[in-house]
Subunit: 376 residues, 2 copies
């Protein structure tokens, strides 16, 4: 038997740093408070210490790594007079911590994503819904996973596809156990799901395209500028992540065809409001697409697919039978189908809300719990 001397204070303490306190970040902090309380009731669990919280212009941390209280953390952050730390300084602060450390990045910042390799090479694990880290250049992808592999740090990003739905973990399980992925297809954007479910519902009604886009924006389902949803890039990013996880080398989310729903003439208008004002002029185009589908007895949806035999990735409009689960989707639900060697006759399907602060934060918190378990 090996000699094993482990100081409990070292392995039983995990430091957590959280960047970003927006829609996802605020819900995550509430869930973190919940899991921290649950853990107090199980004294054998490792002790979680929140040692840094920051957003763009505010920061709260303790140079001695004493735990920040969970209660009223927003108010405390707002009132903080601490000088903001730059990313290299946050790397230094966390890598000098006296025990294992996890960075939770709840931003969608490319700048933070670009810094992941620097955190990981110092042994700081990362949990995040930030798509940009895993769907930008293939170089960043390689740097992230080689840094993690060298240091033994963990990288978990379930919420980067399908919010809290178990998409990446399922793909991972299929691959790791030796299944062969044949095709992945589905509705990957909560915003575009909502838009098309309203614009072309299976029962045949539905409003004008521009009305539905405006309505979706007013309900908070779109980005501040709806073009950031309509350009298809969000879906392209998610497919890039899935394809790379399944072993395809995808250079970037623009290295395959992506159908944009922004009329060419409106690509360069100044802002989202002007875009919405001018959009009604193009309603006839979308109406034609809807009617063409109806004439085939189908409905049009905005979907993405990856065919592994041909290494083909597609993002855009496609017509579906009314009885197809993709056609029958409701609200802002996502649906993702995995066709594999084992699930060949009928696919493994996962469906549910694909956007929203609470469900996205749930994916982050679920990942955090797994990383804590692996590290302790």
């Amino acid at each position: 038997m090996a000699q094993t001397v482990i100081s409990s204070s070292s392995f039983r303490q995990i430091y957590i740093a959280v960047i970003g306190t927006g829609g996802v970040g605020s819900r995550f902090l509430a869930q973190l408070e919940y899991i921290s309380k649950q853990r107090c009731e199980h004294p054998s669990s490792p002790k979680l210490s929140l040692v840094l919280v920051s957003r763009s212009s505010k920061i709260l941390y303790d140079e001695e790594y004493n735990k920040l209280p969970f209660e009223n953390i927003y108010v405390r952050l707002e009132n903080s007079q601490q000088k903001i730390l730059k990313l290299p300084e946050i790397v230094d602060y966390l890598s000098a911590a006296p025990s294992k450390t996890i960075l939770v990045d709840n931003t969608s910042s490319q700048e933070v994503a670009d810094f992941y390799p620097r955190f990981l090479e110092k042994g700081i694990s990362i949990v995040t819904p930030n798509k940009k880290a895993f769907s930008s250049s293939i170089e960043l992808w390689k740097d992230i996973f080689s840094a993690a592999s060298n240091s033994g740090a963990q990288v978990y990003h379930e919420s980067s596809v399908g919010a809290g739905l178990p998409i990446l973990s399922t793909l991972n399980d299929l691959i790791e156990t030796g299944d062969e992925i044949i095709k992945i297809e589905g509705v990957f954007s909560g915003t575009l799901s909502f838009l098309f479910n309203s614009f072309a519902p299976v029962n045949g009604n539905g409003g004008k395209w521009s009305t539905e886009v405006t309505n979706a924006k007013n309900l908070g389902y779109t980005e501040p500028d709806p073009r950031d949803d309509l350009n298809g890039l969000d879906v392209a990013r998610k497919l890039t992540i899935l394809a790379r996880l399944a072993g395809l080398t995808v250079e970037s989310p623009t290295s395959f065809p992506v159908q944009s729903l922004i009329p060419k003439e409106l690509e360069n208008v100044v802002d989202g409001n002007e875009f919405l004002q001018k959009l009604p002029k193009f309603d006839a185009q979308m109406e034609q697409i809807k009617v063409a589908a109806e004439n085939e007895g189908k409905v049009v949806r905005f979907v993405g697919s990856i065919s592994f035999a041909t290494k083909e990735i597609k993002v855009g409009l496609h017509n579906f039978d009314r009885s197809n689960p993709i056609a029958m989707l409701k609200g802002s639900d996502n649906i993702i189908s995995f066709y594999t060697k084992r699930y060949r006759d009928s696919p493994l399907i996962i469906q549910g809300a694909g956007a929203g602060g609470d469900v996205t934060a749930m994916g982050v918190t679920g990942d955090l719990i797994k990383v804590i378990k692996y590290l302790s």
Copy 2:
């Protein structure tokens, strides 16, 4: 910083024992060989050593804990002349191993399940699709999890519900991150899914009940005696597991109403063949149920549900609209819907093959990979 001295040979070696080499067990051994080869290419992964394989009357193990070869393990097992070990002897053998040990139980044996606490209290982790361990008496459930909690051993049993579908892991993530489960419902039996999809398809055709049961048996979809599927106990066991994981105290799988599809008059006939011969006399009963549903514009399905507010568990026939995903299921697919506080408007749904050696083994292998990661 803590003093940490860990012999790499201790923590980097994991011993695996496998009981059961039937439909699931044989596919599992093939998958185990696959993951073991993958690991050889990553020398930083822990070394996996298969140190015991057994089925009812045969065993293969090495008293010095030298690794058994993966190749031709069946032939080697069949040719083995080693004296079979009783369960207490297997506990002794594995608990004396010089590193961490995982028992993979691919049987559906109550006898083996009853022994889990003895393995777990010795620190031997368990991975299994064996429903009986988690759906028999509540005492066994408590003994299993308190033994695991005391020793730090892991217990994973994803494949005990929905085969390889990520059902238990998803329920676990929902609960651990603080969601509230409102209702779980779905089709939990691959056999009954196949039977009802053939007997009462959404397009209105479908054969006689007894013909479909015989057909399903001939295709290998039922147990050798189809009454073992038709009595509903398999579904009741799966609901017991889900309810308990979500915090309900369920005494046993017969402590709530379970509708049996076995006519009272045929409960005591000698064997499955005689049962099938006499079943046509009762076709009119099932036909009446099918027609009643059709008259409502619906189809009948065999489903289970757990309502958490009322703590009510139900197993039996229910009519569904033709457009309901439960009605539109194909083949032997399972579908499980989680209605929660977060997934309230539309549920989180997981769908796909719910039976079969390869997909069930995949759930076991996926669990094994997680336990290896936690232990190393």
